[in-house]
Symmetry: C2
DNA sequence: TACAATCTATTACATCAGTAATATTTCAGG
DNA sequence: CCTGAAATATTACTGATGTAATAGATTGTA
């Protein structure tokens, strides 16, 4: 399993937009993020640039503007992050995590039912 | 819910030792970590120091050496990290995570049984 | 009591991430 | 074909982290 590029938290916010709307231009990315974050357009620019450098995005010059497409699959990326997380905090398995959540009463009855239901459907 | 101090990945490795063996001296921490990591004792020193600065550890001078005790609860810290993680990647809930794991066939039949069993016990 | 061994404290330096500002390039329109 | 607005590229600066090295303090022992 190849290791995907590292994507920082801020970069991930950018990626969420791109995964959702790709192919998408710099301006559209910026417009959308300016509404949901406190970032300057310049900051967003920088983040996009870094994502290109890291190989997370490719772009195509359409006349004067760049249009971006993700090179990394969202599900795959989140899966990798999840593995890293479980390894770091829960011996690498979801059961340990669930067990801790149950022990510490972090789940409501409704959530527990939801989990049961998901598992029974499988 | 107060927000706990930020603990970096390397610092967390140090904390795992301290959580397990506290109260514990610098030397004992170092000895243990030197065996399981590739870190220089100097590096371990630095990490311990930073944890003290951040308020994650307190120490007591016992004659010549320092003996450390955690100020942050492990379960609480992991709980906070888990929340952050779920918020970032799974809309803040464990069901979404489980759902993704099931959808992507990331769980063996045995693991699924384990999860079911945990939930039925509750 | 002075010194060497041992601790602890301070300083170092590179990289990444957050957050921009400035500089340069490039079209589209006058 | 030149120019200014718009786009992209380069540079900047701070704090955190990884990873130590060096400097200073302390103390048991000769």
């Amino acid at each position: 399993m190849k290791s995907l590029p590292q994507i920082s938290e801020a970069e991930f916010e950018v990626m969420k937009i791109i995964w959702k709307y790709a192919p998408i231009s710099t301006n559209e990315i910026t417009d959308r993020l300016v509404k949901t974050t406190a970032w300057s357009p310049k900051t967003i620019q920088t983040l996009i640039k870094r994502l290109v450098t890291k190989g997370v995005l490719s772009y195509e010059k359409q006349s004067r503007v760049f249009v971006y497409t993700p090179l990394v699959d969202k599900t795959e990326y989140i899966g990798q992050e999840s593995n890293t997380f479980l390894n770091r905090f829960y011996n690498g398995n979801l059961s340990s995590m669930l067990s801790a959540y149950l022990d510490n009463d972090r789940l409501s009855e409704a959530e527990i039912d939801e989990l049961r239901s998901l598992l029974s459907k499988k």
